[in-house]
Amino acid sequence: MAGSIQAFEQESDSSLAARVARQDESALAALYDRHSTALYSLLRRILRDESACEEVLQDVFLHLWRNAARFDQERGALRGWLLVMARNRAISHLRKRTLGEPDDVELYAVSSDPRQDTVVVQNDLVARVRGVMSQLPGEQGSLFEMAYFEGMTHSEIAERTGQPLGTVKTRLRTALTSLRRAFE
């Protein structure tokens, strides 16, 4: 048993997703073990409600279970797809509306960047993103968090904060320019 768990830990997301497409429950369990903490952490940050977090987390993995055949590792990382699904569904749950950002794997597909495939590079990337996020000036950071974790649009943020729409747009765009640098 320990050997098989170890084997799964060494197996790529792509290979596990192919097994899931063949309705292999143990492969789904392995993907859950690998990605559920990242997804659950995000859901807790957005929803702050235990039962809602569980509902969305299960929903994401059930969607994977039913649609794994449509996933193609060459066209995007599985973890990214799962995170997009989790965020979109959590915000839809929070706002009782869709984010306007579909989570279909087709639309998420992009030529894979092999630099993002190794654990070391992933960890380095996440550290750089965390660095960028922590260094955003206070106003930029809070506007970004309203958009990211509450799913608010430019206009909604302007209305809540009382800032001019143009100022909100400029500050969010500047925050995103900083974020893009972490990926260069």
Binding site: A18, Y32, Q58, F71, G76, G80, I91, E106, A147, L172
Partner: protein, 272 residues
Amino acid sequence: MMNGHPQFDEAFDLYALGALDAQERGEMESHVKQCRQCAEKLAEARQRIAVVALSVPEVRPPEQIKKRLMDRVHSETQAAATGARRRHDDVAAPAKGTAGVFDFFRRPSLAWSFAACAALLAVVFAVRSSHLQQQLSQQQQQLASLQDSAAHDRLVSGLLTGNDTQRVLLTEAQGPSHPEGRVYYHPSRGLLFYANNLPALPAGRAYELWVIPAQGAPIPAGTFQPNARGEGSVILPALPSGVTAKAFAVTLEPAGGVPLPTGPKVLVGAPA
């Protein structure tokens, strides 16, 4: 936006973030449908935005969530297996005089008779009800999105029996004609497709159906995976309305499908 392209590359990140207001979002969506370069930029932005989620402090989910998830998955698997056995029994012992839909395709000289259409309808409806069947997961999604089931059935029925429906036989692009497909197509009512004798797919690949319009690029009409007997289908895929088709084709593509054909043609056919 200037000439359709976003003025700033950050617009892709803003879209992925969900911060654009409705009009800007609509402009972006319209543009990326036509601009492959911008579609790629948008997909990259989605990945960037996804990684931001990993900057959140980690919290492990309670163990019982996994158990409840796996219980649900296991229940679905069991239900699907039970359904598949029932369907297999139904196919293995058909009523006298009612051939299976795929047997229908094996008789090239068979006329488009009412009886055959009725047999097709029966199978179409049986397929529509098979929500847990793995190889029809794509059709399952399409069907689930149709809120009016009766309207859907009328569409299928109308397509199969309509005098103005194009009925096109698709045969193997090269070599002896073993795999065969049938397309029922009407520019405004939609498309039905069935095939048999299809070779098993390599891992990570799918068959993709295409409508070849009289003018312009091929239009993707859905991906599918054949069952163990080499039978596959696409039912009422999302297609632009009013397109005159000069041909139909099936190609071998990556499992998620592609916007334009890249792989070898497996089946091709043109209206008479």
